[in-house]
């Protein structure tokens, strides 16, 4: 935490961290006046918003549908298979993506055959938001849907039995029992991910698009930006300023969203 100082200083190695001159908010100013600032902040927020919305919807849907599977054996099989992507590191996922999208990739060769011209995924910027969303959801779906599934298992069967006696259809049960009773869990999970909205999955954005400069406008996020600034240009002051900005914003967002939830529904608040 002492490192917060760095953000406000002009670091030079002869003076060391604590004796370098103070520069106030210059490091921040430098970042926010650069054209990168808008792009990386936009990318981070946009991607995370898509991930949260699509990811939550899909995993709740999967959890509800998993609950409809009658056979225990089949259920176990699905769970195990859905969990598979979670076990791969992002580096491996990047290799998998490459095996489909690379110059000799399975999808690439298919597209070249029907389009009759060469095609390179790693230079097309428009396709990456879709690809990254797909890959991210693909990797996390098994994991998150099991959390929700466990939540559904925790709902007392009596509600469903009573509803069945009253002649409720499956769909009605889902709408009036499962979803309302799952809401606290959904809120907690969403709050946790909203708290991390200024952070992104470094591995996804760093490895999967294979560090191709052409794709930076759609793949550069705050995390990769800070890393590249630190490792490539070695600008400690500025990368630290960006990092601090990220942390502070994330913290504020958590407080705000928790405040809103507390207003709307006291029960579901995080703290």
């Amino acid at each position: 935490m002492g490192g917060i100082f760095i953000a406000f200083k002009n670091i030079n190695y002869t003076d060391g961290i604590f004796h370098s001159p103070w520069v106030g908010f210059d490091n921040f100013k430098f970042f926010f006046t650069s054209s990168d600032a808008w792009i990386v902040v936009r990318n981070t927020l946009a991607y995370n918003t898509i991930f949260i919305v699509v990811g939550t919807l899909l995993s709740v849907l999967f959890a509800i549908l998993l609950n409809e599977i009658v056979s225990r054996r089949i259920l176990k099989a699905y769970q195990t298979i859905f969990f598979f992507p979670y076990f791969f590191s992002w580096v491996i996922v990047a290799y998998m993506a490459y095996s489909f999208l690379g110059p000799h990739g399975i999808i690439t060769s298919y597209m070249e055959r029907i389009g009759n011209q060469s095609f390179d995924f790693y230079t097309e910027t428009w396709i990456w938001p879709i690809l990254l969303t797909f890959i991210n959801i693909w990797k996390g779906l098994g994991y998150v849907s099991i959390i929700f599934y466990a939540g559904i298992l925790g709902i007392s069967q009596e509600y469903y039995e009573a509803a069945a006696i009253d002649g409720a259809s499956k769909l009605q049960m889902v709408r009036t029992i499962t979803i309302p009773l799952l809401m606290p869990l959904i809120t907690i999970m969403t709050l946790l991910s909203i708290g991390k909205i200024f952070y992104s999955d470094f591995g996804l954005f760093f490895f999967v698009p294979r560090e191709i400069g052409q794709l930076y406008p759609v793949t550069q996020v705050i995390d990769t930006y800070v890393y590249r600034m630190l490792k490539v240009s070695g600008d400690i002051g500025m990368s630290s300023a960006v990092g601090l900005f990220q942390s502070t914003m994330g913290f504020i967002i958590v407080l705000i969203s928790n405040f809103i939830v507390r207003k709307v529904d006291e029960e579901n608040k995080l703290f």
Partner: protein, 293 residues
């Protein structure tokens, strides 16, 4: 009546089978590419099933695999040693936090969990590790930063909170020391929790590329995942000297595409073999953590 009941089932199953396929096919594709013939790949592209079965890629990477073996060694050591130490550390913290009669319980929990919400960011951490702890290019840089992960402490704490305090109190009356209670009573009772978190940590350490990306430049400390990352851009990295090529293979017919995928298989393989068997622990860990965040 029967038809109305089964149709939704069919649709659900179709959806799930479809998603299962998207989970499995990428794995099949890298396996089959690793067994494909390089010339065929360059000419016809990758295929989901190898057209010409070929194990040159494996012959190539397993011929004098000095780098590879070393990376395996680093990964194995970091995974097992790291898991052991981190579980020990986190169990200690979690136990202290689970004790109702611990005076600094609230302030310590705040100290631990506040880092989940707010931290200095990448640069201060980096400087702490490199300039103050001087851990750059040591194996501890790959272990130390993950020793206390708040989320897992949370999971362990909820496991330990289920152990009634009266057990601890009755031990105290019998004259057991705090250490004895911790090691002989609490740890055995919290075994399922320890196993769960241990498995998560094992996976976490094995799959980690982040710490090596930041702190490792020395060749002898490169773990598997980092090696794989470097190979993505430069296959030559695997055999930096061309005299390590198997006899009869020239630099020109280096099976670069298939060798990459073969490496990926070797790096992902061990965990994939082991983990489906531990899946139930994973599920349990997830659900315990989910009860209250």
């Amino acid at each position: 009546m029967l038809a109305r009941k089964t149709w939704p089932q069919v649709i659900i199953n179709l959806l799930f089978i479809l998603f299962s396929l998207t989970c499995i096919i990428p794995l099949i594709s890298i396996i089959s590419i690793s067994f494909s013939n390089e010339v065929d790949i360059v000419k016809n592209g990758y295929h989901l099933f190898p057209k010409i079965f070929d194990i040159t890629a494996y012959a190539y990477i397993l011929y004098q695999p000095v780098q590879l073996l070393n990376a395996f060694k680093v990964s194995l050591f970091v995974s097992f040693f790291g898991t052991f130490v981190s579980v020990a550390v986190m169990a200690g913290i979690a136990y202290a936090l689970s004790r109702e009669d611990y005076r600094f319980k609230n302030s310590l929990s705040f100290y631990v969990f506040f880092t989940m919400l707010f931290n200095g960011g990448l640069v201060p951490t980096y400087i702490l590790i490199t300039n103050y702890l001087h851990l750059k290019n040591t194996i501890f840089a790959l272990i130390l930063p993950y020793l206390a992960i708040p989320w897992f402490i949370l999971i362990l704490r909820s496991f330990m909170q289920k152990i009634p305090l009266s057990i601890v109190e009755s031990c105290m009356i019998d004259g057991a020391s705090e250490f004895r209670i911790f090691f002989q009573i609490i740890l055995p009772l919290a075994k399922p929790g320890l196993a769960t978190v241990g498995l998560f940590m094992l996976l976490h350490y094995w799959n980690d590329w982040w710490l090596s990306l930041l702190y490792v430049e020395k060749e002898s400390l490169v773990p598997l995942q980092y090696m794989l990352y470097r190979m993505m851009n430069n296959i030559q990295y695997l055999t930096s000297a061309s005299n390590m090529m198997p006899p009869g293979m020239k630099n020109a017919d280096l099976p670069s595409e298939s060798a990459r995928m073969a490496m990926a298989i070797l790096a992902a393989g061990p965990m994939l073999m082991v983990f489906p068997f531990f899946q139930k622990y994973f599920v349990r860990g997830l659900t315990v953590g989910a009860v209250k965040g």
